[in-house]
Symmetry: C2
Subunit: 230 residues, 2 copies
């Protein structure tokens, strides 16, 4: 058990990070949730993050404006079309256009800053190497390298009073396993948002990679997806 | 030589980063300057960054708003008093209260995102392990760990089409050596701002650690500091 220590949890408002928040709490941490307003097209995610944080009993939820659109380079922040109706083989080919440059590095770096201020040495992130094998910053070796960096970058690390741990509890889970875990911990997936291309009412498209992985996960977990689709 | 490759240069508007920009250009890179509006008390730094970028012939200068005040924890963003009139021995004792949690990790992470979008694999940062030995994220081992992380975090790293290099040309220089180098490359130090606690006209206090190190550096370099003091 974590003896009620504080932990910073990266919370996007998606299915994965909502599950991670529940896991952090289940492990006995006091969660501080961190979200980013980075100019994402799917802004319903941020409202979902607020709803998930409120339902998840966090100590504090901070949304940091960090506009990465100035860099361009991704369908999530640009005008490039979000790919639709792709099969699994296609999804697994190389790095998807929905990749945001250095996103997890940036998010973990800011989380580290907050953790240091809180006196926390635990960060939680919902990366997953099974369904998102195309993203370089979702791999175990990236998480390990960031832990090592964190211990060199901080007062705690230098004074050797603690060791940072980057928890990525979903990294080896399938989407179905994530959903089953979350359900067992009481996560309300109706509050979460996964779609890369929702309509104006926030309803999911059901056809982008993220929707397809989510829907398949619910089917395989043998349960209904409570999200609303177009 | 760098064959006119693009490089992202972290530019605070201080003496060190102005020198780094000149070094990057001297090494043949096309510099893209990146500054942060992170709620720093000494906001004259940002205007200095704009002036230095304009004088330094950058390809582009981007100022990213990233408000770290929400985390607190430093005299540079808080209401804690900036220490004044400290001797060198005192300055060297432990981590100063002007330390901003995980600042260089955050800045390098965002620089990495821009670099990836630009197709650049070179980042420049003005960290210095001689005069700022108290900052954990100014040490060579931190820079090395970040390089390793960058190669694991990015498309370039995964596809092994390139290797990121974090250039920290000042890391082993004294302040006097930095100033002499910059002077030889034509840096106008009158455009730079170092003070942690300037007055309303932007004039430097001459008494905070940053001013004292700067003034001592100019004395040792045998040249006049063109900054205006209160």
């Amino acid at each position: 058990m974590s003896e009620n220590r504080p932990a910073v949890v990266l919370l996007s408002g998606g299915l994965d990070s909502a599950t991670v928040l529940a896991i952090a709490r289940d492990r006995g941490f006091r969660p501080y949730a961190l979200s980013f307003d980075y100019g994402q097209r799917h802004r319903f995610e941020l409202q979902a993050a607020r709803n998930v944080a409120a339902a998840g009993g966090v100590e504090q939820h901070v949304v940091i404006p960090l506009d990465l659109r100035v860099f361009g380079g991704s369908a999530l922040t640009d005008d490039i079309d979000v790919p639709k109706d792709r099969g699994e083989a296609e999804m697994e080919e190389g790095i998807p256009v929905t990749y945001v440059p250095a996103r997890n590095t940036i998010f973990l770096a800011v989380a580290l800053g907050w953790a240091e201020t809180l006196g926390a040495t635990d960060l939680f992130i919902g990366v997953n190497a099974v369904d998102y094998s195309g993203y370089p910053d979702c791999r175990p070796e990236f998480i390990k390298a960031f832990s090592e960096l964190a211990n060199l970058a901080t007062q705690v690390g230098v004074e050797a009073t603690g060791q940072f741990e980057i928890h990525s509890p979903l990294i080896a889970m399938t989407k179905a396993e994530i959903i089953s875990t979350g359900k067992s911990l009481g996560v309300d997936y109706g509050l979460t948002h996964s779609c890369y291309d929702p309509d104006l009412q926030g309803r999911s498209c059901g056809r982008c990679d993220s929707c397809r992985l989510r829907l398949k996960g619910f089917v395989e977990a043998g349960t209904e997806d409570p999200a609303s689709y177009q």
